[in-house]
Symmetry: C2
Subunit: 340 residues, 2 copies
């Protein structure tokens, strides 16, 4: 049995959607056992079947708009997120899924679960859909604003293992997000990363990728520093949302448009689904000791179920162990000896 | 008469679309006189009316895929782009419009037209459409990867004058592109810019803007460094293009979808137009001695005409003069005394 901790109280629609998602998960996936951390009374309102689902009652919750995530994690030992993270650190569970406050989860993951030995900088790595119906990994979308090329090499290596084991991509290709395709393009960091990635045997380097092709990139993994990749992710989100709005408005502005809109409703829904995070699951934090999966704050049951499925897959395929073993074996040869 | 230099040979469809665009411009705008720089024989193939249009024959062209822009500008004294830029520097013309190779135009503008006195870092600033049918300025989309807060203050000031005089926006508001709205967010540069912009009297500061709202921002001017803003621009472009493709594919995958697509064709065209650069004109390079307008490489006549209209407007409203006078008067008080 794969044992997964669920932060039942984190999320815009918690605990309802988290509980429904958990029930869906145990129904669909045979080898998992879930423990829901949260308010027992609240959870029981929605829990109609407790096969392979346990409850660990927690008094507190880290609010979604928590302003001081580090302090909140340190103080609220009985918050559902903290207890769930602690259970993973204590090896009671093998992974955790939470749709709680992002910054608090990241802080808590670092404080409680801690970094993998030898892994210098963690990265947050959501999977984004591509127009040609593949999946691509985008990182780092938020953990480290200041970073060095060697750190990005580790992160990219982690991403290739993830892409191979979880997304079933053979020989995943890594592309560097940049303002032009030539190797001379970009900031000093980008040029150094280009050089380092060109020389590595860890993965195939696809060169610089301009965001003009961000949703149909000639690679499987898109990497940049934690500021740039976050900006890219939010720009995709903003553009998609605004375009959807504009399209709807245009369709509704004429009789034929309205008719077309009605006829196309099902197709538009399909279209939205393809871009939806619900289909993809959550963002994984690379480089911790154990898998911490951040599901979207606005997750509904289906999206949360997908994040649980993803967590189970990561444990089953031993993604974290593979990377950890490799780094131990390398003991600094590939990724540099420098201490922090 | 406002005298404008036209690089007739730069652009994917040059000189045809440039010549047609120029003829449209003199027809629509009474107070302009254009000089087309380029191959006279080629130009005359399309020039059916030469009212207020002159031709200056040039032997050479800077190719669209020029790899060594600086060398190309220095060597090809008789290239249409170089001659057109030179005419502005010599005060024969008051502005130049080109859809030629971007990097060559930027290099040429700096070498030939030169920076405005006291203006530390030029910026490229396209106007982007917003979903709520306003216009917003995005900068710097490519001139300076390394920049300091004081340089961005100058650029933002230039943008507010531009927004006010050319886009008719009263009290334009400047927003800093960032990964979160709180003032503590972002890199050191972003935090310093936040502080500086909060204290300035030059314009109203709207705080940090997350790209989740990039096409419906709570401001009129979106600013970041030349790397980040370029990445944002290309991500918008890529997302819009891919979404359009996905939508079309979805619509065409079913009978109802196909019918809807046919019915909605006009609306979809309208929709595309709203996002189109053709409607907006070109990107202006802020901080040069004279206006240099970069029209899209793929400009058709209508798009090129809009870029000419924009150039005429900039000259008519004395945008560059207003900024130049202000900076002279300030002589370093606001923007810092440091030399480069």
């Amino acid at each position: 049995m794969i044992k997964i901790a669920i932060d039942a109280m984190g999320g815009d629609y918690a605990p309802k959607e988290q509980v429904l998602g958990a029930m869906l998960a145990v129904k669909q996936i045979n080898d998992i056992e879930l423990t829901l951390y949260g308010n027992e009374t609240e959870i029981k309102k929605y829990l109609t079947d407790n096969t392979r689902i346990n409850i660990e009652h927690c008094e507190n919750v880290i609010p979604m708009d928590e302003k001081n995530p580090i302090a909140a994690i340190r103080k609220n030992k009985d918050a559902s997120m903290v207890r769930a993270l602690q259970s993973v650190s204590d090896e009671i569970n093998e992974a955790i899924v939470s749709s709680g406050a992002t910054q608090a989860l990241i802080a808590g993951a670092h404080i409680i679960v801690r970094r993998m030995e030898g892994f210098k900088r963690t990265a947050i790595a959501p999977v984004i859909p591509t127009v040609d119906h593949r999946k691509a990994i985008l990182l780092d979308t938020g953990a480290n604003l200041q970073i060095r090329p060697e750190h990005m090499l580790q992160q990219a290596y982690f991403a290739t293992i993830y892409a191979n084991k979880i997304l079933d991509i053979n020989n995943p290709r890594v592309g560097l997000i940049n303002i032009g395709t030539e190797k001379s393009k970009g900031r000093d960091l980008d040029k150094e990363v280009y050089q380092l990635f060109s020389e590595t045997n860890l993965f195939e380097f696809a060169g610089n990728i301009e965001p003009k092709t961000i949703l149909e990139p000639d690679c499987d993994i898109l990497i940049s520093d934690g500021f740039t990749a976050n900006i890219v992710m939010k720009t995709i989100e903003g553009t998609a949302k605004s375009m959807g709005k504009l399209l709807k408005e245009n369709l509704m502005s004429s009789f034929f448009g309205k008719l077309a809109g009605l006829l196309a409703k099902k197709n538009l829904r399909e279209f939205k689904k393809q871009l939806s995070a619900e289909e993809i699951g959550g963002a994984v934090i690379y480089g911790l000791k154990k898998p911490v999966i951040k599901a979207q704050g606005a997750s509904k049951a289906y999206g949360f179920y997908n994040a649980i499925r993803q967590a189970a897959n990561i444990v089953r395929k031993e993604v974290f162990k593979i990377v950890e073993d490799y780094i131990k074996e390398e003991s600094g040869e590939t990724f540099g000896q420098e201490t922090e």
